[in-house]
Amino acid sequence: MTSEKTRKEIVIPGETIAEGDDFLPGDWTIKTGKDIIATRIGIVEKQDRLIKIIPLSGVYIPRRGNTVIGEVKDMNHSGWTIDVGGPYGAFLTLKETPGYVEESDMETVYGIGDLVVAKILNVKRTGIDLTMKQRESGLGKIKDGIIVRVNPHRVPRIIGKEGSMIRLIKEASGCYVTVGQNGLIWIRGDSVEGKIFAKQAIEFIVENTTTDGLTDKVEQWLKENRPKNLVKNNPIKAETSEMNGGMN
């Protein structure tokens, strides 16, 4: 009896994934002659007539609307350059901060080395435009909390179907967790043990992404490894992200 969720086969660069004219070449594929070939290591996905590769590794692929966490690298009179991973810079203009920022205040609001949570407004060929204007909880400067870095391609598994996996972690650890699509994850909470526990839970998921029945395994791991002195469902008052772009 084969389980319903069998591990999908991994294809490698140069491998033929389709022949003939049944399919059109999508992301990370090329057509040479009659064959469609994968150009990155990943899993094949078919969408109607389009065949593409979902990469397993490599740099973060930015998409409009993604929440990302990045480090401020530089600034000029029009805004801040932020590193969200990958070779291309991301930029946050003064216009895209929630409130009004004077040019002279820029360093205090977001200084070099600060980590910020933002959303992707636009993806251009040579760069990414960021915004913090969307009135969402969690956008702004990170002042407290632990950062975990993972392969961006693992992020969907960490979030889980409709956020189910990340919810498990939040409940078990009593922490608030913001997952950046670029692979940076921000954990904040009252207790140090809780934050470390959440970090280890995420690392457990990353090590087991290809396993079947991961949700059950994670539930079990959380039960077995919970620090004894951790109070469950700690009221999360440590909402340490800064609203209004850090101008309070």
């Binding site: 086969e9 991994i10 490698i12 660069p13 140069g14 491998e15 990370w28 090329i30 040479t32 070939i37 150009t39 990155r40 290591i41 990943g42 990469p55 397993l56 590794s57 490599g58 740099v59 990958g86 070779p87 291309y88 810079g89 040579t126 992404t209 290809t210």
Partner: protein, 235 residues
Amino acid sequence: MAEKSIFTKRPDGRKMDELRPIHAEIGVVPNADGSALFAQGDTIAIAAIYGPKTLNPKHMQNPEKGVVRVHYNMLSFSVGERIKPGVSRRSQEISKVTEWALSPVVMLEELPGTVIDVHINILQANAGTRCAGINAAAMALAHAGIPMKEMISAIAIGKMDKTILADVNKEEEDYDDGEGATDMPMAYLSNSGKISLLQLDGRMQADRLKEALELGKEACKKIAEIQKKALKEYK
């Protein structure tokens, strides 16, 4: 057509086209964006990829496409007579020919203004080090998610007297009788069937070259299968 030699067996008992035992593994350097170990007999190479990342200083960037930067070096204790740590002229040359071998395979037009750093270190040497390095680097590039049109494999073809051999080891490389020692490293692209590395150390009769290249091609195909298998173990 040159006379075939009376050689029927190699010092380690292998057939003329037989490769040394190979061990290939990915993910050996956790810090790197991609990494692999490739061992061919007693030759062990480790490769790590960092990139693509923005190439600085800016004036070195190519706005049309990315660049591959290779650094090949041998560990001081990888050979019998110790090598002083640091870059040598030999390692500089091998770095460059390796770059020329790998670049055609990487889709550099997809990565303008960036650089992909390829670091190759030889832990243990028994001939064919640059080929083991290329084999490891190819796997590391794929592991790192760098877009590639196809895979690349490399092998050192040699000759003992008049017999052409695949995957020479040090003993065979040092063999100095008859026509003398020969070492022909080559790299072959799996899909397009093109050659992206070709060198010759020693001498070879012109009308034997085709035979050598064909032997190399078959050997590279075998290596490509092994690389593929190791990559499919990706976790």
